[in-house]
Symmetry: C2
Subunit: 383 residues, 2 copies
């Protein structure tokens, strides 16, 4: 098997002369965004700890009546740290330790809000369809060990933390959920928000583990801006992004776990389209690496049973409301992407393009209501 | 001023070695699509007539109970043919002649459905905010000279024609609309569909000329498949694409007129996202060239008055439900893009990814209805 490409960006930079490269980035990534001037100590620490660090800044115009609202956001993508056969608690601890190391570097970079990848405390074991030991990774969103861990981290670094976990809801019949816990920079748990759309595609057998979320489209007013979380498969649903935006989100995180074969050419499109369509920032985070499981499983594709899900291609990136985007993190290694954004760009872009004002939502609410009726007759014109 | 780049694809092909280029296309454009084997006589005719011809095929898996449903679609992008100061009727005739020449080549390529660019019988004069002579380009959708011209063309070539024009609706108070007329391959007018979202951005002063369309989200059952038309600015509205798809569209055309500065980095994202999100084909057509107007106008951007709207960058392309896309036509010259598609790919992709099944439209219809109420309270969680 050929070695995985590190990144599209590095490949293009290798071959295309500087003069023309600028036009390539304009066409592919939009308005020029500048690298952030991050402390060299942070780059050193990242290098020693074995993960990539990249930083970019998104600017907005100066206004007369609002001050710039600058926020630094951190996106973390990482491999699991122990074999999937290690004891559950050891796997969790090893990930806590690893993330703690990366968040420390994020703090050195002045990050205000950090988001981890989907189900970050565990391997993405839903491909196996086995229940034990994987369901043992589930924990309470309010007072599980991971939430407690994040609360300490948040207080220590004065940082908002978005922590996507497998949630055990013992109050409601011991059900499982795919949930993001939002922890304030004060260390308080602000609340939780659940994955609204559950995949039935490829080895994403998540519907065997948990159901569609029941927390609607909450937005969290943090000290640094209004944020929301569209977990993984929800990025394929434009209405999901829309409703977070309609409720006021300025930054929508999309913690994900997705693999090359299936989705890689879709990855740069969907979250970026959501940033454009909703005049907001979107932060796409994907798991990285290949995870091996002890028992073999099949994938409903006629192929032989196997022990892994495929390659999680990382490539985490940030999209801005004006359609520009950052380069992606590596396709093969752990990384921290720091993005500085002036949130004033959201309303500035909205005033320029007016997608909400011209959105005709009454018409769509009405048409969508009719379309869900059993006796819906599609509007088809025959000759 | 530097010469305009011909296309991103040509630039990448010039610099990137073949071995690595394949991976670049996989990441940027998705599954490999193959060039169509078009007759050399068609390439010759295109070359003599001075426009670019490209062709690609999108395949689907073989099914047991449905035969392949192969259709060839043609996308035409073109410059205006006479100066904008020429008499209105001469400008129209020159465009009729030019399009007739290109459609003839489309017929040689076996095209079944062809779509022209937005307001194809005229310069895109809405930047001027002048009424005369531009409103004189408006004509009846049912029996205007352009519709009659298209009817002849459709019969002659056994081709469905999507003809986007400026419509004069004399039955309803002489109002103007931005309308696409759908002409059956039999030559009959199947009906019309109007632009649902009108821009208020940059020099797109279209709201000075016409209003939001009142024809909803009609889909036309042609002999070759179910088609719909999302005109220009409607591509920024994910709900617009969605409702055409919910009504059964397998191919959604997006005839447009858009310029570099404003939208070029958005262009490859939005229609492709719509193809992915809605399990359908989308066909993006953009005008090409720069159009000059006699009287100067300003653009609300503090810059000096000027005589042109900017460079329409062409780059017409086709996106498939599986997220793959064709290369774009030239950024600088007229062109015909022929795409052969097996429409069975739509339902196959839907069965694989299930975005409609997992779409939870009842929830969104409800949330959207509430969001449009005057007393709507956004769902914001405070600490």
């Amino acid at each position: 098997m050929a070695a995985e490409l590190v990144s599209l960006e590095k490949l293009l930079e290798k071959h295309i002369p500087a003069g023309e490269l600028r036009e390539v980035w304009r066409l592919l990534y939009g308005k020029d965004i500048s690298p952030l001037d991050l402390p060299s100590s942070a780059f050193q620490a990242a290098s020693i700890r074995g993960f990539e660090l990249q930083g970019y800044g998104f600017e907005a115009a100066v206004e007369q009546t609002r001050r710039p609202r600058i926020v630094r956001v951190g996106l973390i993508q990482n491999k699991i740290q122990l074999p999937t056969s290690a004891p559950v608690t050891e796997q969790i601890s090893s990930l806590h330790k690893h993330i703690s190391d990366i968040v420390e570097v994020a703090a050195m970079c002045g990050v205000n809000i950090v988001c981890f990848q989907e189900a970050w405390t565990m391997p993405f074991a839903f491909c196996t369809r086995e229940k034990l030991p994987w369901t043992e990774f589930a924990e309470s969103a309010e007072d599980g060990i991971t939430t407690k861990f994040c609360q300490e981290l948040a207080k220590k670094h004065n940082m908002v933390i978005v922590s996507p976990i497998l949630e055990r809801d013992s109050v409601h019949g011991d059900t499982l959920w795919n949930t993001a816990v939002i922890i304030s920079n004060t260390g308080a748990v602000m609340g939780k928000t659940r994955k609204n759309h559950i995949p039935r595609v490829g080895d994403f057998n998540e519907s065997s583990y948990y159901m569609e979320g029941n927390t609607g489209h909450r937005v969290f007013q943090t000290a640094f801006g209004r944020i929301a979380v569209n977990i993984c498969y929800g990025r394929h649903h434009p209405l999901n992004w829309l409703m977070y935006s309609v409720n006021g989100a300025e930054i929508i995180f999309n913690p994900s776990a997705t693999i090359g074969e299936l989705s890689e050419s879709l990855w740069p499109i969907e979250a970026r389209n959501a940033a454009i369509a909703n005049h907001c920032f979107t932060c796409s985070i994907n798991r990285v690496g290949t995870e091996h499981f002890k028992n073999e499983f099949t994938s409903g594709d006629g192929k032989k049973a196997h022990h892994d899900f495929g390659h999680f291609y990382g490539s985490s990136y940030v999209s801005a409301p004006d359609g520009s985007r950052s380069p992606g993190l590596s396709r093969v290694s752990d990384g921290l992407l720091v993005a500085e954004m002036d949130l004033n760009l959201c309303r500035q872009t909205s005033d320029k393009w007016n997608f909400k004002m011209t959105g005709r939502y009454e018409m769509y609410a009405d048409e969508l209501t009719k379309a869900t009726q059993m006796d819906f007759k599609p509007n088809i014109v025959q000759e």
